[in-house]
């Protein structure tokens, strides 16, 4: 009697172990790749995360043995990991400041996409077309405008029934390139903002709630009526959150879209620095804010950059084969990868930027040996 029970327990245990073993081994039972499998770690901005993730999946179909892992931890985190060499490449919406560049010498900037920051809001019962201006945004995020039916907002939106409710401001709680882009815009538009709060991946927000990542801000705004925040455009589109129209230097009200970002990028100065030079002063925003002719341009538009070392042997555990695969991936992103941009509402790179990037990628070496001819 006891023997039978023991036998049953034994069988159950054995079955459990075999099942678990099968689950763990499952992917290894799929025929192995002929080429050596490598993993490449990257980290950084959540701004371009949807695009980078798409690229990773698509590139894996092209080169099945190359597995890239990208952690969306914010531009600040990406810059730090790049500086500490714990990743092979980083992504950031903010170019390195001179002091950051000093800590991570020989970093190459490779702009890989262009995106825009949308102003999102949640007003129950109000249609999707609220108009904002730069000055109004500055005042809202400074706390000077605290109610939705403030005269300045009503002035811009005469046909809308703005409620007499407090504005709930939402910003990023983590180190973010999206914040950098948005605060760059606010700094360009307002001397007061520039002097007191400035631009950066993290700033001392006078008012508001902190959300983590673009996802966090999108989540907070969509869940809280009467809130306003800023996110990379695709997060607004996918979450079905209302976004506002922004007044540009030409005086027209433009909504974020592929076309308005493209128009902004077209306005940006044609002279871009070389890959190894400082990109700290590159700003599509500044060019658009000063251009009174660009009728269709959306002001809060920016590059996203890959940050990668010129000489890859500084990275631990790096070898020539892996280095070559990394370079091939980067090359792919600025060419074939751009075909996936439009469907996710990122602007494909203009040809002059692609040309500059090709130059830059050709500079990457391993042990002095050029990796892309």
């Amino acid at each position: 009697m006891d023997l039978n029970r023991n036998r049953k327990i034994f069988l159950v245990a054995v079955t459990a172990i075999i099942t678990i073993g099968l689950v763990i081994a499952y992917p290894y039972l799929i025929p192995a790749e002929p080429e050596r499998e490598i993993t490449i770690n990257g980290a950084g901005a959540s701004f371009p995360f949807p695009l980078v993730d798409k690229w990773i999946a698509e590139y894996n179909k092209v080169k099945k043995n190359v597995k890239i892992n990208y952690q969306s931890i914010g531009s600040g985190g990406g810059i730090r990991q790049h500086t500490e060499k714990t990743v092979y490449f980083a992504a950031s919406d903010a170019p390195l400041t001179p002091s950051q560049a000093a800590n991570a010498s020989n970093t190459l900037h490779i702009p890989f996409t262009i995106g825009g920051v949308a102003i999102i809001y949640n007003l129950p019962g109000v249609p999707k077309d609220i108009k904002f201006s730069g000055e109004i945004l500055v005042d809202i995020f400074m706390g000077k405008i605290s109610k939705w039916n403030d005269p300045k907002l009503v002035e811009l939106n005469p046909n809308v029934n703005l409620p007499d409710k407090d504005i709930i401001v939402v910003h990023r709680s983590d180190g973010s390139g999206t914040t950098f882009v948005f605060t760059s815009y606010l700094s360009e538009v307002s001397e007061e903002w520039k002097a007191n709060i400035g631009r950066g991946t993290v700033v001392n927000w006078p008012v508001g709630l902190g959300g983590k990542g673009n996802e966090g801000v999108a989540g907070l705004v969509s869940q809280n009526p009467y809130s306003v925040g800023y996110v990379e455009f695709i997060y607004a589109k996918k979450n079905n959150i209302a976004w506002g129209y922004l007044k540009n230097a030409a005086g027209s009200f433009v909504e974020p879209s592929l076309d308005s970002f493209r128009a902004a990028a077209a306005v940006a100065a044609v002279t871009l620095p070389k890959g190894y030079e400082s990109w700290a002063e590159v700003s599509i925003i500044r060019d658009v804010v000063r251009n009174t002719q660009a009728v269709d341009a959306y002001p809060i538009t920016s590059f996203s950059y890959f940050l990668v070392y010129k000489e890859l042997n500084v990275l631990p555990n790096m070898d020539e084969y892996t280095a070559r695969q990394l370079v091939e991936f980067l090359w792919w992103t600025i060419h074939d990868g751009q075909n996936y941009s439009a469907e996710l509402d990122y602007v494909p790179l203009p040809s002059n930027v692609v040309a500059r990037n090709e130059e830059t990628i050709r500079m990457i070496t391993f042990n002095g040996k050029q990796l892309k001819g």
Partner: protein, 278 residues
């Protein structure tokens, strides 16, 4: 006198209602959570959910790699934590006359109260700074969380074994250590297994230490010195993402996790029903 009695009776009845209401109040969030997870998660569960790995934007996918990664991480954590836990439990129960017992028991209680994020930072400072974000770092942190649970239940189960058993073995001339391993421990195995299961259920749901020692991983398991996909962490990262397919996965994972933990809790209860019979 009658009035005084009536007041006391009313008070008694009132308190009875209050005491029962406190249970009902506590049960409301429980049922709300379970309902919420079931309703939202059920939508996500289909064959693909179990067979496919993490998808990218707009694609269909599942948690297959998360299940694999979580099992491996939990397995490694158990390999580290269970032996330490059982041996500590044995020490506390069988050698309770040692001067070391008091401090060890104290430390064990203290260990069980640690915030999991602090355990995660410890894992980061010790291991991630050397090896990088990895399964090893996460498993190490999770093992630390497991140890006090296993120790406590092992000690309790061993103590339940009557002294007479040990004496009988000794009378037969069996060595002490053999007695402990083959007789006492064997007799307490239900309780010990319960402890291991409880510890597993606990760490399966831990996302804070995993966040700082491993981070997000979208592929299949690729080595112990790399991160692996983790169910609890993915729930946290995907649930508030703007992409429908990820959000669905998050809820499905939450349902899967809750069912797993529920299953273990019920199993534990069934196993310990004979606890008081010997």
């Amino acid at each position: 006198m009658m009035d005084n009695y009536r007041i006391r009776k009313i008070k008694d009845r009132l308190m009875r209602i209050l005491v029962w209401s406190s249970l009902i109040i506590a049960m409301i969030p429980l049922f709300s959570i379970l309902l919420d997870v079931f309703v939202n998660g059920a939508r996500a569960i289909d064959m693909d959910f179990f067979l496919l790995p993490t998808p990218t934007v707009g694609e269909k996918g599942g948690i297959a790699n998360a299940i694999q990664g979580t099992l491996i991480t939990l397995g490694l954590a158990s390999i580290i934590g269970v032996p330490i836990g059982i041996m500590s439990g044995i020490f506390l129960s069988e050698y309770h006359d040692s001067k070391l017992s008091q401090p060890v028991r104290f430390i064990n209680d203290v260990l069980s109260g640690f915030p999991s994020i602090v355990v995660g930072i410890f894992g980061y400072v010790l291991i991630v700074s050397v090896i990088g974000f990895s399964v090893i770092a996460a498993a190490f942190s999770l093992a630390i969380i497991m140890i006090p649970i296993v120790t406590r239940t092992t000690e309790e189960s061993l103590r339940m074994v009557p002294v007479a058993i040990r004496e009988a073995a000794l009378a037969l001339g069996i060595r002490r250590w053999k007695t402990i391993i083959f007789i006492v421990l064997k007799g307490a195995r239900k309780g010990v297994i319960t402890g291991i299961l409880l510890a597993l259920a606990r760490i399966a749901g831990e996302s804070a230490p995993v966040l700082v020692t491993m981070g997000y991983w979208r592929w299949w398991f690729s080595g112990l010195n790399r991160p692996a996909s983790n169910i609890a962490l993915n729930i946290y990262l995907f649930a508030i993402s703007p992409f429908e397919n990820w959000r669905t996965l998050a809820w499905g994972s939450a349902l899967f996790l809750i069912l797993m933990i529920l299953g273990i809790s019920i199993l534990v209860r069934v196993l310990t029903r004979g606890k008081y019979e010997w």
